[in-house]
């Protein structure tokens, strides 16, 4: 269990547009030795896994390419322009698409295969799909199902685990007001990230290693995944108020005093944001899973503690050895999603034993089954147990 720090990042002033509040995160100097590029994949639908046995099929609007090592280091000084795809598709699938287009093929949904979620495309270049690591980490949580074949679980559960497991997410353009907020957002000099609030709930934190990367990736935020909580918030909330600390001008009689008051006001906003608004993200404990190591950087995905009393964020990060995040992207879980994760964690911790789990949740069997029902997991149980539950049996 570790916690998440936004080391090396400073909070800027929030910009509010409708129900969306965007707080820029600034770096004094870029992370050296790492760059991120947007990469349009050239297709509409991605199949992860080999073509014969796809692991899953997803709508993937874009992917990121991380470059590290000497090539990226020179770019970090802003003197070198990368020859990385620059938004234009490249590689075998793009060639095929171009060939088809030249042959006058009718427009169609383009399909392309990715063998893995994270794939090295060159010696110091890594392609990955944003938030897919994090989402997959959440979906595959205790995916295998019970380790011990307790008689209460159905045969399908014992044989195939939790499959199929599904969660909803929404494209950024479907989140009301987000595209407009991104359009009118004024990118600050030195900005390397943004904390995005929808209805004043933290929706996502995005961090990039270099300001140029942020500038390039900013418009792609509308192609990112957002959870159902964000979608719902955006649909129902009113305009976010301008949160600001009052300017303390009592006793001020000259310009120096006024400037001091202004600086105090700005500092108090930064403190408020870092300590209160970002707290749901930074205060929680996370389980980190390293996915890929590239030089002095490590690509991790992290899962929260699934505490139902607070908002939980899943996400992925590229962290340097000294703990400075070069890349970070988070996804907020809705209450229902948190509860599902919480229930699964408790079940796994108790070895999938119903009574033990019920005891750890301070309830009885009926209470546990009720909870599983509301989390949409009742189908994991055997039918006769459910029948007894429906019949009102106190101990099904």
């Amino acid at each position: 269990m570790t916690d998440l720090t936004l080391k090396g990042l400073e909070t800027g002033r929030a910009q509010v547009r409708g129900g969306v509040r965007m707080v820029p995160l600034l770096r004094r100097r870029p992370v050296e030795g790492l760059r991120l590029h947007p990469r349009l994949t050239g297709g509409d639908i991605a199949v992860v896994g080999s073509q014969r046995r796809p692991r899953y099929i997803g709508y993937v609007p874009h992917a990121y390419v991380a470059t590290w090592g000497g090539e990226a280091a020179s770019a970090a000084y802003g003197t070198w322009l990368s020859e990385v795809e620059r938004g234009a598709p490249s590689g075998a699938e793009a060639e095929r698409a171009a060939r088809e287009e030249a042959a006058g093929a009718p427009p169609r949904i383009k399909l392309f295969g990715l063998r893995r979620q994270v794939q090295r495309t060159d010696r110091t270049r890594l392609r990955f799909l944003p938030l897919h690591l994090a989402m997959e980490g959440y979906l595959s949580l205790h995916f295998g199902g019970p380790d011990i074949a307790w008689k209460e679980w159905s045969r399908t559960t014992l044989r195939r685990g939790l499959s199929p497991r599904e969660e909803d997410s929404y494209l950024g353009v479907q989140v009301r007001g987000l595209a407009e907020a991104l359009r009118t957002f004024e990118i600050v000099r030195g900005q390397c990230g943004v904390a995005l609030y929808v209805g004043d709930e933290l929706a996502s934190v995005v961090v990039t290693p270099h300001p140029e990367d942020y500038r390039a990736l900013h418009p792609t935020l509308v192609l990112d995944m957002f959870g159902e909580a964000i979608y719902r918030n955006a649909t129902f909330v009113a305009e976010s108020p301008h949160l600001h600390a009052p300017l303390r001008t009592r006793g001020v009689s000259d310009l120096a005093g006024l400037r001091a008051a202004l600086e105090e006001q700005r500092a108090s906003w930064r403190d408020f944001h870092d300590e209160t608004m970002l707290a749901p993200l930074t205060d929680a404990d996370y389980t980190l899973t390293p996915v890929y190591r590239m030089g002095e950087f490590r690509l991790d995905r992290f899962l929260p503690s699934f505490d139902p009393a607070r908002t939980n964020h899943i996400g992925e990060a590229i962290v340097r050895e000294d703990g400075e995040p070069g890349y970070l992207k988070t996804f907020v879980l809705s209450n229902a999603q948190t509860k599902r994760g919480h229930l699964l964690s408790k079940l796994a911790a108790a070895g999938w034993h119903l009574d033990a789990t019920a005891a750890s949740l301070a309830t009885d069997r009926r209470g546990l089954i009720t909870r599983m029902r509301s989390a949409g997991m009742e189908h994991l149980l055997r039918q006769d147990i459910l029948d007894r539950f429906w019949a009102g049996n106190p101990n099904p």
Partner: protein, 488 residues
């Protein structure tokens, strides 16, 4: 009803605020898409404001033609005055003054806008005696009606038909007879137009926008056409074609005669590298244009500090690209001429005015502090009024006005080039600093004068007085001209 110390009732103060709101919106709003609101929202707001002020304050509505209301809104005001005769007994200017204001304003408007207004009147069947007189008078004052007949044929035809005019000489035949019956013309321009259908040589004598079509018809290469047609092109057309001219290796537009704000838009459309390369030429042209605006007032202002907004929002919108930034840049050059000691403060912290670009955030409060620390006599803020955290600069300016500078050693004014459709006026910075709309920097000196009414301390009576003075000055020269016209 309680009275203020000046004798104005609170109703008067509110009326004053309404009228100023309209004036500011009519100065900066053009019904086009802005950075934050779409065209529909802008138009809806303008519609409401025009109707409200025309019905309730018809005299002030007409008088606002004498203010620096932009051409779009001036045409709308004229349209409103002509199509709505007004309630009997409502406060209105006497018809002579109103008519003089209308004809004076139309005389200063670009002809294509006037013809568009006439066509709108015709389409809406506004055909009272007054409308016919306005159209007839405007057309009788055109310098070269044959030119108008060629360049604005549809407009002139519609206007003449609508106002029952008999166009003089061959222009009537040109406009109304079918070509085979009209035959050839004695007027050179009309004859060129007829000939241009058959020979390209004649096309070069026509106005550029008309000749262009004939050249394309005859298949003349663009470069050859541009090199010969520049003689007949207007300044505005040349400026618009400048990039095309330079691309073909021809000499670009002459920047010495161009108006300042348009010149600023031109400069901002150039890539930064080009601006660096042509720095001396551009700076000289900008300074000269600013000097023309300042005129006799050059060097009459005390120390002035300006806060100029070059944040990303000053990009405006694709339909009015870089307009807010162009206005800020133009104000920069005008203030440089007006003031004896002038210090610019761009919001981005840039020092060089010529290479500004719309980029970055808006830390207005900090920049205003920087500007105030120069200790100026006058503070001018040119911004769309959207700070990152809007309440902060408002609180800052209020505190400055009440605690640091209560006896008004420094006069402050906020010029806003963008109308906020939701606020129904250009967004304000703070209650203590008056906000005025701006569209063209040439109006800057008179706008700063108008700003004092926005402080909420001078009432309707004073505003009426101010407007009366402006109206009298505005129509003074029209009266002289009228005698000339009547002699002719």
């Amino acid at each position: 009803m309680r009275d203020t110390p000046d004798g104005d009732t609170y109703t008067d103060l509110l009326d004053c605020e309404d009228v100023l709101r309209f004036a500011n919106a009519a100065i900066s709003g053009t019904g086009q898409r802005e950075f934050r609101t779409g065209a529909a929202g802008q138009r809806l707001t303008l519609d409401f404001l025009h109707d409200y002020v025309r019905v309730n304050f018809r005299d002030l509505y007409a008088a606002s033609l004498a203010l620096d209301v932009n051409d779009h809104n001036a045409a709308r005001i004229v349209h409103g005055l002509l199509s709505d005769p007004g309630e009997p007994g409502a406060a209105a200017l006497d018809r002579r003054t109103e008519g003089a204001l209308v004809s004076q304003r139309l005389a200063h408007m670009p002809p294509q806008r006037v013809y568009r207004l006439f066509r709108r009147l015709a389409a809406e069947r506004v055909n009272n005696r007054r409308t016919r007189t306005v159209i007839a008078r405007w057309i009788s004052r055109r310098r070269d009606l044959a030119f108008d007949a060629v360049k604005y044929r549809a407009g002139l035809t519609a206007a003449a038909r609508h106002a029952h005019l008999r166009l003089p000489g061959e222009v009537s035949a040109f406009c109304f007879s079918p070509p085979h019956r009209a035959g050839s013309f004695a007027t050179p321009l009309l004859e060129s137009y007829r000939e241009a259908h058959y020979t390209v040589e004649a096309a070069y004598e026509l106005p550029l926008s008309v000749g262009e079509g004939f050249a394309a018809k005859h298949g003349v290469p663009r470069k050859e056409f541009l090199s010969r047609a520049r003689a007949s092109a207007t300044g505005g057309e040349l400026l618009r074609l400048d990039r095309s001219l330079r691309g073909h290796g021809l000499e670009g537009a002459d920047l010495r005669r161009v108006g300042l704000t348009r010149l600023c838009s031109y400069v901002l459309a150039l890539p930064v590298a080009d601006r660096e390369e042509r720095r001396e030429e551009l700076t000289a042209a900008l300074r000269a244009a600013a000097r023309r605006i300042a005129g006799g007032q050059a060097g009459t202002w005390g120390p002035t500090a300006a806060v100029l907004d070059d944040s990303y929002s000053s990009f405006g919108s694709p339909v009015k690209r870089n307009r807010p930034l162009a206005v800020a840049l133009a104000c920069h050059f005008v203030l440089e001429e007006l003031s004896v000691r002038y210090t610019p403060h761009w919001v981005s912290g840039r020092r060089d005015a010529l290479t500004v670009r719309p980029e970055g955030a808006t830390p207005l409060a900090e920049t205003i502090m920087d500007a105030l620390e120069d200790g100026p006599e006058r503070l001018v803020v040119v911004s769309d009024g959207h700070d990152d955290a809007p309440p902060v600069p408002a609180a800052l300016l209020d505190a400055w006005r009440t605690r640091v500078d209560p006896d008004r050693r420094t006069a402050a004014v906020h010029l806003n080039p963008v109308m906020d459709a939701d606020e129904m006026e250009p967004a304000r910075l703070a209650g203590s600093v008056p906000t005025v709309g701006i569209r063209d920097a040439s109006a800057l000196p008179s706008l700063v004068e108008l700003a004092r009414f926005g402080e909420g301390r001078s009432g309707l009576a004073e505003l009426r007085e101010h407007l009366d003075r402006r109206v009298a000055a505005y129509i003074a020269d029209v009266d002289e001209k009228r005698t000339v016209q009547e002699v002719r």
